[in-house]
Amino acid sequence: MIAVTVDPAPIDIGAEYAAITAGGAGGIATFAGLVRADDGVEALTLEHYPGATEAALTALAEAAVARWDLTAARITHRVGRMVPGDTVVFVATAARHRAAALEACAFLIDRLKTEAPFWKKESLAGAERWVEPRGSDDAAAARWKF
């Protein structure tokens, strides 16, 4: 089962975890990405491309389910304004055994970072700046090429 959510509401990790475990899998892997306070960042605002974002995340989840024979995959991404410590993204995968769940979870967050249409803007010291993409993210995504 695949579930993709893009929403400005805070992510309820307890509810997400309960949902992914409801399928009765033997192994669950999760990843949570949080807002860092690097360089005194006071807030992070996430913009996205409505419609295309959900389609991109669903395509990634479908690819993960097919490649690792998952029993479930959930991707929840927050948008709008957040502060350091807030959860930006939560990925959960369920499989019969741990290796598939762990690999699929890493695949999803690596590929999400380079393929899903989100853009981060940092607010700090009264100014705003758009976050630049990192080459290390491209390298992380590339290791999952078929």
């Binding site: 491309y49 419609g51 295309a52 899903a116 249409p117 853009w119 803007k121 976050v131 993409p133």
Partner: protein
């Protein structure tokens, strides 16, 4: 045929609007041709679209390289490289 052009992140901010509906002229073969044509619409467009190497695009919500054929899409989005997660 009118085409919806969408802009995101700093491309949207520099242009000053998030969307515009335009009748595209004939003779635009690739997405890059469209970007060059759009850049003449205003100083904001010119600034936002000055460096195509920093731009990415989606045609009818399918992500494509800038040298991809334009076709006759309903919707085109132009934006910086993505930074989610």
């Amino acid at each position: 045929m009118a085409t919806e052009i969408l802009y995101f992140a700093w491309v949207r901010e520099k242009i000053g609007i998030g969307a515009e509906t335009l009748d595209l002229p004939t003779g635009l073969t690739t997405v890059a041709d469209l970007v060059a044509w759009l850049s003449e619409r205003s100083t904001g467009h010119a600034e936002a679209l000055a460096d195509p190497a920093r731009l990415r695009a989606a045609v009818d919500q399918i992500f494509v390289p800038l040298d991809a054929p334009l076709g006759r899409p309903r919707e085109i989005a132009i934006f910086p490289p993505v930074t989610g997660g």
